[in-house]
Homo-oligomer: 190 residues x 2
């Protein structure tokens, strides 16, 4: 019996299907059928498929950004802030792997204005990361390297999780966080 | 005036269009028109669009694998072998960015038998990388971490280049190679 979903359930179910079958191949009808939602209940939360994709992308990056901003204003040493950023990003991925997979793979399908919004959020994330790296380089704690390249390489490590990491697999969340932190912090240390 | 292309020109032109517009949105006719090839000249090299995609994916990973295998059999220390693997992969990306972008983004569009061939090649690459890491960990040169996770993280660094690195941009190839090597080798050092 189809039921009325909560907004969060709609986004999770849509992310699962978009990640599994691709955005182009998924219809709102298939989503409602597979998730057991009424179409009215689904349309109560979003007006259509593109709005679903936009919400998945924007809310994912906003959630990570919130944690990252908290990590950056807390006055800790740059290395600790980097560790906190990695922790926040990997935790979000572990909890919502499909949402980040969709953000990485399908954001190009958004209309230009919606894509611009996501790009702005991504730039804010990149800017924060770069500012932490620059501070660490100036203080002498981190090796002097191009901070933009370092920031993109760090993002590649966490964004790449969609390609290989299975949150239900052999390697637990906290072991993964420690592994990424170890490589990054030692790799960037002066 | 359309002309007869060489095989390499066909693959490069197809990779450029697949990377720019997506595999699904590109037709063989559009490829021939835009690249200025005769359709007969194009069909002399490949039977159709999926064969083009399969060739781009397989030949990219085979080319990198060849360099990686050379690096792994030369008897050098594991850290030097890792440096050589990074060098080979970044060099290939720098020369053929569109081919690796297509491999990363579109290999899922291949039919199952063709995809399996690519997956086998990728597993061989991963296995070689893991064997180098394991040797380094055993000898005490590299920190003891899960070698599979380390191998995937290293691949994420180089595969992520498609998302942000512009070979014609401000950061040159050799600076990029040195940057990735620095972070990786220090990050993994015991």
């Amino acid at each position: 019996m189809p039921r009325e979903p909560r907004r969060d359930e709609v986004l999770d179910a849509a992310a699962r299907l978009f990640a599994r079958d691709g955005y182009a191949a998924t219809s709102v009808r298939a989503l409602a059928d597979e998730a057991g939602f009424t179409k009215a209940g689904l349309y109560y939360h979003v007006r259509g498929k593109e709005e679903l994709l936009a919400a998945i992308c924007a809310e994912s990056i906003e959630a990570i950004l919130q944690d990252v901003e908290r990590a950056v204003v807390d006055g800790a040493e740059p290395a600790q802030q980097l560790a906190a950023i990695i922790d926040a990003h990997v935790r979000f991925f572990h909890q919502h792997p499909d949402r980040l997979t969709v953000l990485n793979q399908e954001m190009g399908r958004l209309s230009a204005p919606r894509r611009r919004k996501i790009v702005r959020l991504e730039r804010r994330y990149l800017g924060l990361l770069r500012s932490v790296l620059e501070r660490g380089m100036k203080s002498g704690a981190l090796v002097r390297l191009d901070p933009t390249v370092s920031a993109f390489l760090l993002l590649s490590l966490v964004n790449g999780l969609s390609d290989w990491y299975d949150p239900k697999g052999r390697v637990g969340r906290d072991a993964l966080i420690a592994h990424v932190q170890r490589i990054t912090l030692r790799g960037l240390a002066a």
